[in-house]
Subunit: 303 residues, 2 copies
């Protein structure tokens, strides 16, 4: 690609730019964003080549001749950014995003882009780190990781392929889901666990003897609650953006806990062990499958 434009030059957008540059897959990276300091830092670090200007003229100049635009800013800003892009979006440009929810993004895109929505290919790279900002961006964040594209019926195959090829150049493996499938899956395996971890730490933090409790929390607690170290604002937005699917998963989990409470109250060791055992076996199989899948990549890295 000759030119890409990235909105949000933090971990996700910055790592995308670094990976594409490393792969020789892009000539010029234009960075856009609300924080001038982040943009300047990103340029200093060589993540972006150009800081896009502000206002209509700045947007027009940034987008002129762009092959790909990636939205990697907080999801709550998606519609505002797409609306700002829309008037300046040329026919040859494909727009994608990196948001953790997809149904709401598709709705925003339809509202903001109107007749140009066919140029928008929604995406979600399944990768992250605990740190953020341009300094957290690394060129191998996406290597061996999945990127889910939730293409629209309106998308041209060539446009989907342009986005897919960019992610593949970053080392990612492309998966395809509908926006609804995507949101249902991630409500279960990501959004609900985040809510549960936040809920547990908040629960403990509000107890009168919280200090005593934290004093004895050990490595199991640390791992269980690691995701509660994530950005509260970002996860508030994700929870609200995926509210219907998250409520469904939360209700299923509440029903599960209510059954387990009854088993525990009845000292029903067989029922309790049944749940624990199913979980332990399922997790073990999952870990083995992951490790088998990751083994060739581990070799690549060692080479």
């Amino acid at each position: 690609m000759n030119k890409i434009v990235i909105f949000g030059v933090g971990l996700i957008g910055g790592s995308f730019a670094r990976a594409l540059k490393k792969a020789g897959a892009v000539r010029t990276v234009v960075g856009m964003g609300r924080s001038q300091a982040s943009l300047e830092r990103a340029r200093e670090l060589g993540i972006i080549d150009v800081i896009g200007g502000s206002g209509e003229a700045g947007m027009a100049e940034a987008l002129a001749g762009a092959d790909l635009v990636l939205l990697a800013a907080p999801v709550a800003q998606t519609e505002r950014i797409l609306a700002a892009i829309a008037p300046h979006l040329q026919p040859g440009t494909v727009v994608s995003d990196a948001g953790s929810t997809k149904s709401d993004v598709v709705e925003s895109a339809r509202r903001a882009l109107g007749g140009k929505v066919a140029q928008f290919v929604p995406g979600h790279p399944i990768a992250g780190r605990e740190t953020n900002g341009p300094d957290a961006a690394i060129d191998h964040l996406y290597v061996g990781k999945k990127t889910v594209l939730t293409a629209l019926a309106e998308n041209a195959d060539a446009d989907i392929e342009r986005v897919a090829a960019a992610w593949r150049a970053c080392g990612a493996v492309i998966h395809r889901l509908t926006p609804q499938e995507h949101d249902k899956v991630f409500a279960a395996v990501s959004h609900l666990p985040h809510l549960l971890a936040f809920a547990l730490v908040d629960d403990i933090a509000n107890k009168p003897h919280a200090d005593l409790l934290f004093q004895y929390a050990a490595s199991g607690f640390r791992d269980f609650t690691r995701i509660a170290g994530s950005s509260p604002e970002m996860w508030r937005d994700i929870s609200l953006a995926n509210q219907p699917a998250l409520l469904t998963e939360l209700d299923a989990y509440l029903a599960q806990l209510t059954r387990m409470r009854a088993s525990l109250a009845a000292c029903d060791g067989v029922a309790i062990e049944g749940v624990y055992s199913t979980a332990q076996h399922a997790r073990q199989q999952w870990i083995e499958a992951i490790e088998a899948a990751e083994a060739p990549q581990a070799q690549d890295k060692a080479e």
Copy 2:
């Protein structure tokens, strides 16, 4: 110490023996257990010096002249082992354990040891790994970790100190709680998180589209559910042994989730962010406190 006896020569008991040997704090380690293969492996690895014999005569010989006996077998076996020890327990021997629950262990000890219960100093080392068995035992498992002693009113100070000194020789830091405090604390920071992690994985594993879900589970899910990789039998026993305190914590958590469900259903972003934010800040403070506390040990290791 001249002689110690360890029931259960796996990760916990084996690491205790290895650490004491490394510190030069014990001359002879006698291993006892139901698995002859484990005992032989432990002797092969140099964890124990002698495999204790079976039957009354074996028990008598193993315990003769022992300074310290550590129970590191599954908690469900505690009362049986203590009852087997009782007739052969000499006045100069102190008995301790490594169980994850303490109120029930104290009750078992009172029943099994009767008039000799003053010789039993209950303990709980807060350390672990995902692996088990003699091969998992390492000499630095307890370095910088807490060991909680929940001494009985009947315990002599010198006996408590003998147990404390052994754990300190392993590198552990001694904390003192009552059995009730201990169980309340660990219900909150360990037993409930285990139940929640097992519950989530079981919930997902039982869904019709479980394979699809596991396919997209990533590192956050992996950490959140790491504790669901633990032994189902062991955690069934712990859940039942600490049932009253665990029920209390589970009810508090169910109430918390029910409030959060209402916030989510109402799209109350302020309430949701409030919980997430309290959790994120509390966890951050906790992590900083841990890292500050661990920093000198990190230096020790580097030296």
